[in-house]
Amino acid sequence: MPEISGASRPAALRFALPCELNQVRQAAQTVHRFLMEQGCGEDILTACDLALVEACNNAIKYAPESARARSVGVEITCGAGQLEIRVTDHTLGFDWPERVELPAPESESGRGLFLIQSLMDSAQYLRGKGENILVLRKSRSSTGAKQESPPGAPMDNDRLITGLLDEVSSCYESLSAIFRYSTEQSKIKDLKKFARRLLTDLSAIVSAEWFVFRTVQNQTQIEVLAASESALDMGSIIYRGENSDSGFLEAEAAATRKTVLFDENRELAGADPLRLKPRSRGLVFPVFVGENFVGTLTLGKSAAPGGSTGRTFTASQTNVIATFAQFLAIQIVNARLQEELVANRIIARELEIAGSIQRSLLLKELPQLPGFELAALCRSAHQVGGDFYDILKPSEDTALLVIADVMGKGVLAAMFAAILRAVLRATPELNSQPAALLTRVNQLLFDELSGVDMFITAQLVFVDAKARKLVVGSAGHCPLLVADASGMKSLSPEGMPLGILPDTVFASETVELPVNCRVLLYTDGLTEAMDAAGERYGQDRLTDWFRKTQAQARPARDLQEELANKLAQFQLKTGLNDDQTFLIMTG
């Protein structure tokens, strides 16, 4: 039995119609009586009769065999100004045409939708999974509508039911819309277009007239991602910091992370973009994904003439807004993660290129020097660093040992390492004078290095095997360690890194190389090496080890292996966090 309730106040009628065509007439009569009791005029009764019949006919005619046992839902809500008919069907649904046209006169079918559209003020067909709802609305204004109960009247059952119906149908609308969008989500190419479309639908569902969606940039600004009209697409708003646009509604919502409601009486700050929509009411809604603030969604509509009081959006509409906003925010966050992933891939590729440049700089075979032995190691953290070493042989009995660390990583660092190596090799006349060579190199590279805020630390050691002495020059590099039977020296001749000042003056030092001496050139990756406890390998550990190597004469290769093992052992649990390069000479 149909339940009929409330004859004098906004009322609701709800019943289940068996899925049989011959039941439709009776249902139409029930609705007819109900609407008559609500005081609807003849015109409205006729229109609703016919529209309801057409809607029910379709719901029954197109029900698949499997749904025949399920009834068609009929709900009528009759308010003072408007009435609404909802028909819930279990058909496969169809796309409501954008324009419903009258078929040719000789056509025997196809007039149902046209009748519905013509008789009702609005018709919306909401498709869902397994069921669809046709929502028909008609204004009662032409027929001397009854007065609504005074504000503040206690909520009776009818209102409660109407409210619940509203709530359920709103949830249903947003859910079915989200189902639709979820299936599209994998093919979102243009986030702006997607946002615009989603928010246009949202506006229709919650009866908003315009919208602006802003997303966070740089933690201090919100920028328009999508707006219902281009005029609203106005630059960025600063919501945090000294120059913030305080007083702007959107800035307020972003700064306080709270929903800001506004109506036509709200005074807007001089440059608030929302001034473009005067006499509006609506809300600015802060959007989050988890704890992260993503942006603000503003929805508005014109204030009704005469300025009715009350809320612009009902609680259920606000829920729908929240659901959509949340969904959109997740899409945005996902899309950004995707972008980052691509950027990371590009960086990885760049490092790979830089790594191959760096490897190409290293000597395949170390040149040797009469009476001395050389060994070297260059281990790169990540794909690439700016470390490199080189050994030049200006003559049979001499060598220039080079070790350098280009600050920075990636292709640029590798390029500078390659340039430095080329410049050193192109200046053989200065190979025996490390300080003069560094001065020249600094002059040649200064503009390029300072242009990109990079610098290089380097150490050049000229070894004369016959005279058994070395000359060292340093550009802000780690000290040179020289050990012999008399003890160990740490040499740091003055000189700033290359690329800091155009006219740096470099000093040099000369030391004798007695028999059974050792020389160690290294980069700070050795002393900065860290263990699991966060302790550094440090200068002391290195010098201690180096001092002890004097105990017996050993080939350079042995020492190189021992130091490499010690370092590997030290950072067993932490791994390499910086390049480690060293060159050992014994003799």
Binding site: R25, T46, D49, N57, I60, E108, G110, L115
Partner: protein
Amino acid sequence: MKQQSDGDTLRVSAIAELTAANANAFRDETRQAFGPEQRNIEVDLSQTMAVDSCGLGALVALHKTTAARGGVLRLLNPLPPVQQLLELTRMHRIFEVIKE
């Protein structure tokens, strides 16, 4: 529903409704009663409380049946709601609508 032959015209009356529930039966029964010598069909709608788009479809079908024989379909005295429906769907220009 009553059917009555009057020369070259078949008269159908006492129709309570013309809707999805009975439109096809109405169409088929009327066609069966339409004698080979007849050309026109008159449908008395004075007692018809409800017509929907399916009912209209049946009337269009009968209109074609008569037109094939050079005759006409006449609708007699439709009630105001039915008249509105005919006008809304522009069918009043296709059928001959007679008010007595």
